[in-house]
């Protein structure tokens, strides 16, 4: 009988699609050197095949002319990325579907679940092999393939060898067992759940080397340009070559903690768990992990309109591929059409008002563009842009939320976002908020749009849906051409956490671009927002009648993260779980085209982008008070607020 060789490539691509091709046994099929099948017929009872496969080969596996149908493979490839696949469908590329209907389905399904599992295979002659289940021919007669198979029990021998003796021989990489040798396959502890959770990878990656960058990197993106090592000019001071070469010296020679203690009596109280979340590895860990993985995969597989998110996920958003890095990552997008989802006027006003107060009514106060690009960083961005917009009314609203969104990894979307925001925006946001921000992409655009270049109340950034109040606020502010004078004010925004809770308060009253955006308006919206977002510790807002009004000079101002030094930042009280006040934009800076906003403050010469990327300044909640009145701005003392480690990309679904 002829041996069956497997088209491993297609099988790898779609394990459900088990295709077996005929190959001459004893042969040495060599197809372009790419795919060699060596079959030793006589040496073993079963067959051992060494396959040399190169990735990506379109596989002329059918070297020996077996009836391999190319079309099937191609059909199969499409499935490679699909997360879910109905067993019946998969098997039917080009086949007549599940011929036997249900019974075949069940078989295929169960067999598929076994892939990757360590199984024991009993053979006709009594031998038992243990290996990783790789593929099976469901169509024909159920020959199977194991990977890394090793003999556990040899049927041919009389006595029993101990297992260790068998270990002497390295496992066979690929091991084919034809159907008539196969007696049974035992898979122990197979986890099967019929609702789709099955067989998720045990994220037991402990055996693997995981660096941070490899953990967080998306496997979709290309690795960027090719890096070349730096070659010093010759001016380089000598002796620096091996400074970092020996990481182990540290362990031996220098223990900074010990030295510190001995010299200065300082005891280290470092506890890792203060900074990370301790994983609860309990009984249900595996389920939770699987669930988390599934969710992660779903998120990552979603469509997005955001350039950067798309890039991370591997989608090609831009059809014209001649976009260079500059336009992808650095350029400032012009403020033009976007479809926003109903950003309200007063949002703009608020924002502008804030702007003015903060920046002394500078002409070109630019508002930072919220991270248009990514839904993920979005909120942070928004939040960031808030800060300095001190707006009387806004202020109040700011005090509203003391619901500081915690930035929690996993499963957090906009929710965890703490951003200072006006109540108005919050309420507005609230309306549009939904867990999955379908409008997120809109917001992205709108964000860009929300340049305060326009002194009028335009909708500007219609921060669509799901944004957090933070971003709404930001957008609003951007919009606002408020006439609030730009006085140095301390930023005192209390973060408003993503107020999913934000009730459907009606949109804040539309107001003129007067700073006095009446406290009433904010109050009004305030009251409509949930009480729980009120920060009881917030200082009372005091209207500054002298506030200068803000008039932007240029039409299209790029937006800039306000956060910048406009406010000084009094010592942040400890319990601030704030939401990153501001410069979200900075945090995500390099990545979003929209964000390159420079802030031009009248009082300051240059945009001070001194936020380290990802630093998220947090504004003490209590401080909602922006400094009113004309006070000379203290030197921008930017004290990096207690930085809550959080993932700007945990915006989740976009």
């Amino acid at each position: 009988m002829s041996l069956l060789a497997l088209d491993l490539y297609s099988i790898l691509r779609d394990p459900l699609f088990f295709r077996v091709i005929g190959v001459d046994f004893g042969g040495f099929g060599d197809s372009d050197g790419r795919f060699r099948v060596l079959i030793h017929w006589n040496t073993l009872n079963s067959f051992e095949a060494a396959m040399n496969m190169q990735p990506g080969l379109p596989s002329k596996a059918s070297t020996n002319g077996s009836p391999y149908i190319r079309g099937e493979r191609e059909g199969v490839l499409n499935k490679a990325k699909s997360i879910k696949s109905h067993p019946a469908n998969a098997a039917s590329n080009g086949e007549a579907g599940s011929l036997k209907g249900d019974s075949r389905d069940g078989l295929v399904y169960l067999t598929t679940c076994k892939i990757g599992h360590l199984v024991e295979v009993h053979l006709k002659n009594g031998s038992v092999y243990s290996g990783i289940f790789h593929a099976a021919d469901v169509e024909k007669d159920f020959g199977i393939i194991l990977k890394m198979a090793s003999l556990i029990k040899d049927g041919g021998l009389r006595g029993h060898k101990t297992r260790s003796e068998f270990v002497r021989k390295p496992p066979s990489k690929t091991f084919i067992i034809p159907a008539d040798e196969l007696v049974q396959v035992i898979a122990k502890d197979l986890s099967i759940s019929s609702d789709g959770m099955s067989n998720a990878v045990q994220s037991e990656k402990s055996g693997e080397l995981l660096t941070d960058s490899s953990i967080s990197k998306s496997f979709h993106t290309d690795q960027g340009r090719e890096l070349k090592p730096w070659i010093p000019d010759g001016d380089v001071p000598q002796g620096l070559d091996n400074v970092f070469d020996d990481p182990w010296k540290r362990g031996r020679g220098w223990d900074q903690f010990k030295v510190n203690e001995s010299l200065f009596g300082v005891k280290s109280t470092f506890d890792e768990e203060i900074y990370t979340t301790k994983l609860d590895r309990g009984i249900r860990t595996r389920e939770m992990e699987e669930r988390a993985q599934r969710i992660a995969r779903e998120i990552e597989g979603e469509n997005t309109r955001d350039l950067h998110v798309a890039e991370e996920r591997g989608f090609q958003l831009n059809e014209k591929f001649d976009i260079d890095e500059e336009s992808k990552y650095s350029a400032v997008l012009p403020v033009d059409a976007f479809d926003d989802s109903g950003f309200d006027e007063e949002d703009d006003e608020l924002l502008d008002t804030c702007n003015d107060e903060t920046f002394g009514g500078s002409s070109t106060s630019t508002v930072q563009k919220p991270a248009s690009s990514s839904g993920k960083g979005y909120e942070e961005l928004r939040a960031a842009s808030q800060p300095s917009r001190n707006n009387t009314s806004v202020d109040q609203s700011c005090s509203i939320s003391d619901d500081h969104a915690q930035h929690l990894p996993s499963e957090q979307r906009s929710k965890d976002f703490n951003a200072p925001g006006s109540s108005i925006s919050e309420s507005q946001l609230g309306e549009r908020r939904n867990k999955n921000n379908p409008e997120f992409s809109h917001s992205n655009r709108s964000a860009e749009e929300s340049v305060s270049g326009h002194g009028d109340t335009k909708e500007g950034a219609k921060l669509g849906g799901g944004g957090t109040s933070a971003w709404k606020t930001v957008a609003e502010k951007e919009r606002q051409v408020s006439e609030v004078s730009g006085k140095p004010k301390s930023e005192s925004f209390t973060g408003q956490s993503a107020s999913r809770r934000s009730s459907e308060s009606r949109p804040g009253p539309s107001t003129s671009s007067r700073p006095g955006l009446s406290p009433s308006s904010s109050i009004g919206s305030l009251s409509s927002s949930e009480k729980s977002t009120l920060n009881p510790n917030a200082k009372e807002f005091k209207l500054n009648p002298n506030a200068k009004s803000f008039k932007p000079t240029a039409a299209a101002r790029p937006q800039s993260p306000m956060a910048d030094a406009s406010f000084y930042y009094p010592a942040a009280p400890a319990p601030v779980q704030q939401m990153p006040g501001m410069p979200l934009g900075y945090g995500i800076q390099p990545q979003y085209p929209g964000q390159q906003q420079m802030i031009y403050y009248p009082g300051h010469q240059h945009p001070q982008a001194f936020y380290p990327p990802n630093a998220q300044p947090q504004f003490p909640q209590q401080q909602q008070q922006m400094m009113m009145g004309r006070q000379p701005r203290p030197q921008m003392v930017y004290m990096p607020p207690p930085y809550q480690p959080d993932n700007p990309y945990n915006q989740g679904r976009e």
């Binding site: 699909s82 067993p87 078989l107 049974q184 182990w248 993985q293």
Partner: protein, 185 residues
């Protein structure tokens, strides 16, 4: 295909193995077990049993995929409802997850050295936490550069650049210390 020692394929149990039926099965190779039929197909003539007689927990089970040709005897001992509830609902399989699972399993097996001592394996495992190490016969090869031969202490580290070599030596010594192995095993 007619295996030489195949006995009557339909022996016992009758003709149709239905999903849900519980059988006591005896194979021609002498193995016996009891199981509930989870799936059956007469074309490849394979039956998948869920081991054990009670339905139990669906999440994790031991399954036996049996080539029906080798069943010498199958006694019907009971019947229970569809063990998987699967036929009615759509069953989803996470392909990517499976592929990853397989890759990990393979890697795990690959990390076990063949014919090496337990101690060597321990050293290997410790090294592999921070380095890419592979077995090559009985040598450990790190980053395809540096090689550590039996008996795996720092005198036997060869290859690689000077810096890498030194580093591996240090790492190895550290590992040994941690494992509290004497350095001349």
């Amino acid at each position: 295909m007619n295996p030489a020692n195949a006995t009557a394929t339909e022996a016992g149990g009758g003709d149709e193995y239905e999903v849900g039926k519980t059988y006591e099965v005896k194979l021609t190779t002498g193995i016996e077990f009891k199981g509930i039929v989870l799936a059956y197909d007469s074309d490849p003539h394979v039956i998948i049993f869920h081991e054990g007689t009670s339905r139990g927990n669906c999440k994790s089970m031991t399954t036996r995929t049996v080539n029906a040709s080798f069943i010498s005897k199958a006694n019907l001992i009971g019947k229970c409802k569809d063990p998987l509830d699967a036929n009615k609902k759509k069953c989803f399989v996470d392909l990517n997850g499976l592929l990853e699972k397989e890759a990990i399993a393979i890697r795990k097996i690959e990390s076990i050295g063949v014919g090496v001592t337990a101690e060597a394996q321990k050293i290997f495992d410790a090294l592999s936490k921070t380095l890419h190490v592979k077995w090559e016969n009985k040598d450990m090869v790190i980053m395809e550069d540096v090689r550590i031969c039996s008996p795996y202490h720092s005198d036997f580290v060869t290859g690689g650049t000077r810096a890498a070599n030194d580093r591996i030596k240090k790492v190895l010594n550290n590992v040994r210390e941690k494992l509290q192995l004497s350095s001349d095993t």
